[in-house]
């Protein structure tokens, strides 16, 4: 007969680390914390605060006027449109790529993973340039496109293409390690219980990776709405037509309309802050989910 001991919890590791006999001496802590916080204040907090202060430097009405101005509204609309196309496209691609890479073994897999990362390694300007070389007036397909009256470069399709290129890896990168870690046991169980491939994906895989997918989409969206270099090369900067919000900010800034530029920029900064908050929230949820999974594994 075994006795069930009632086990008090051992002290958590973090508490041990903080309270152990080997903690850094107070002056080291103070010094390092000071250096770190000073760096963060100078390079992160101050710029973020500046955006909002500059945005309202000419008052709330000037801020409002800069935002509802027709060109600004057109830029906002275009930015939303671009995101609305490239986010779903890349999300769908990311899920497909992660499925193929995480659930199967095949030759050349690591090469494929590296290839997916390529857009992160390429300068945004070069990313724009490759599409100019393909679709521009002097490009490979340029004459043919012109003959058929299709404009890609200096038009919305080019902007969408460049943005999609730049944001291509986000979701796949997030999902591949997550799906690899989860393995295929649950999917195999589902198949053995008679589920079809699509049912398995929808009812087993997708719920398991939904947080990671959302996480990837949040980052993807932030980059898609904020991309500047690549879009700048292919857009042609036609006011009211091919200007996204970041490009509109540039034009206003170069025309010495600082307050208006910062007003539009502040909208993008709000997007950035919202992205950070969402990201943190998702990380927190994912952390708890993986803790729960581990506990289930131990039980």
């Amino acid at each position: 007969m075994s006795t069930d001991w009632i086990l008090p919890n051992s002290p958590p590791r973090a508490a041990r680390r903080a309270g152990g006999a080997l903690a850094d001496p107070p002056w080291v802590r103070a010094l390092l914390t000071g250096v770190a916080l000073g760096f963060v204040a100078l390079f992160l907090v101050l710029p973020l605060a500046t955006v909002f202060l500059q945005a309202f430097s000419k008052g709330i009405s000037a801020f409002g006027a800069a935002i509802v101005e027709p060109d600004a509204l057109a830029a906002i609309r275009l930015t939303l449109l671009v995101a609305a196309v490239s986010v779903p496209l890349n999300a769908a691609f990311g899920v497909a790529a992660a499925w193929a890479i995480a659930k199967f073994d095949f030759r050349g897999k690591s090469l494929l993973v590296t290839a997916i990362d390529l857009p992160f390694a390429v300068s945004p300007v070069v990313s724009g340039l490759v599409f100019v070389l393909l679709f521009g007036a002097q490009g490979v397909l340029g004459p043919w496109l012109q003959a058929h009256g299709v404009r890609v470069i200096f038009a919305v399709p080019g902007i969408v293409l460049a943005t999609t290129f730049i944001t291509f890896p986000f979701v796949a990168r997030e999902l591949i390690p997550l799906m690899e870690e989860q393995g295929s046991d649950e999917e195999e169980a589902a198949i053995s219980l008679g589920a079809s491939g699509w049912q398995t994906f929808r009812r087993v895989t997708l719920p398991n990776v939904s947080l990671g997918l959302l996480y990837g989409i949040v980052l993807l969206n932030a980059r898609a709405m904020g991309e500047f270099g690549a879009v700048s090369v292919v857009s042609g900067h036609i006011r009211g037509q091919t200007n996204t919000m970041p490009l509109h900010v540039e034009i206003l800034y170069n025309e010495y309309q600082g307050a208006a530029a910062f007003a539009v920029a502040s909208l993008l900064a709000v997007l950035a802050v919202a992205t950070l908050v969402l990201k943190r929230l998702l990380e927190w949820r994912m952390g708890r989910a993986s803790c729960a999974a581990r506990e289930r594994g131990h039980a």
Binding site: M1, S2, T3, W5, N9, P12, G20, A21
Partner: protein, 336 residues
């Protein structure tokens, strides 16, 4: 070197790990701290090593107060549960680390370091593996590297935290005997933490049984096994049956080890009727699972000879009778 812990008290937040613990370890002794997880045994070991600071109380080495001395200066060899080997260093460099970080005046020459490390690697039977990285070793080999590394600084005390906890049972038994031999060879005062009573009873000169931050009993393996000071010690050190019995001074619960239970077909006055539910005969002894008339499940342990004689069958009704047993508080210890 002798170790003494006086009135050690330690809390982590609102969790009390140690409650005013006193313990003395004699020179050259091999002592086991035995208890379930959360009993405070590891915390006590870490406080002795200087890796944790007590809230109250003091640690004495050879009668000299070392509480304020840092882990660095205590010259204590500590073997971690998960070894904590430096993964970017070879086995040789791991063992040499303690020598290399000495102040220049006390540091042996490179030749001296080589000689000492080689000698230690021979001692732990890893002479050929000095050039490997920890990731290229098996669990048992890592364990021995950890021990060699701790011994390299010629510690005055050797402290081991669950030294065999992460190994499979075969390797465990081999290493246990090997550690005992090393201890006898080096005669260094050693304390190890374990939750495995078999390990503690087999290896240690003396066993310290702990629970809930307190020491329940200190004694030789024979003492703690045969004369447990409390119900906790009795239950922790082996399997037990609990009977509800009627003694001279009223109803009581009696604790009986399975091998102290007689099983027979003849009725006996002190016995209880029970039905055989299962017989496990594979092994050095035979374990019999029974159910009493009161519905209690009990376990008896017979020798193979007794089993052959009795030839118990499943669902057979028999009598069980404790040869010896113990009661604990509220009534005083009582033997029948």
């Amino acid at each position: 070197m002798s170790i003494e812990a006086r009135g050690i008290h330690k809390c982590f937040g609102d969790f009390t790990a140690l409650r005013d613990v006193n313990l003395a370890v004699k020179e050259g002794e091999l002592v086991a701290l035995l208890g379930p997880s959360g009993s405070g045994k590891t915390t006590l070991l870490r406080i002795v090593a200087g890796l944790e600071l007590p809230d109250r109380g003091s640690v004495l080495f050879d009668g000299e107060d070392a509480t304020a001395r840092s882990a660095r200066d205590r010259r204590v060899g500590f073997v971690f549960q998960h070894y904590a080997l430096f993964r970017h260093m070879t086995v040789f460099e791991n063992v040499a680390f303690g020598l290399r970080v000495r102040p220049r005046r006390e540091r042996p020459s490179e030749r001296g370091i080589r000689a000492q490390v080689s000698e230690l690697l021979e001692l732990v039977q890893l002479g050929a593996l000095g050039g490997r990285l920890p990731s290229q070793l098996s669990g048992g080999q890592r364990q021995r590297v950890a021990l060699a590394r701790a011994l390299a600084v010629r510690p005055r005390v050797l402290l081991l935290d669950e030294p065999f906890g992460a190994l499979d049972s075969r390797v465990r038994k081999d290493l246990r005997r090997w550690l005992r031999r090393i201890h006898e060879e080096l005669a260094i005062t050693s304390v190890f933490v374990t939750h495995d009573q078999e390990e503690a009873l087999e290896l240690a000169d003396r066993v310290v049984v702990m629970d809930h931050g307190r020491i329940e009993q200190v004694g030789t393996p024979e003492q703690v096994y045969h004369e447990p000071a409390s119900r906790f010690v009795y239950e922790f050190l082996g399997d037990v049956n609990v009977f509800h019995a009627r003694l001279e001074d009223g109803p009581a619960r009696v604790w009986v080890r399975p091998h102290l239970l007689d099983v027979s077909r003849e009725a006996s006055e002190r016995g209880a009727r029970a039905v055989v539910e299962r017989v496990h005969a594979a092994g050095p002894t035979v374990r019999v699972e029974l159910r009493t008339e009161a519905g209690e499940r009990i376990q008896a342990e017979l020798t193979q000879e007794q089993h052959a004689q009795l030839a118990l069958a499943r669902a057979e009704a028999v009598w069980v009778r404790p040869r010896a047993g113990r009661t604990f508080a509220p009534a005083e210890d009582y033997a029948i």
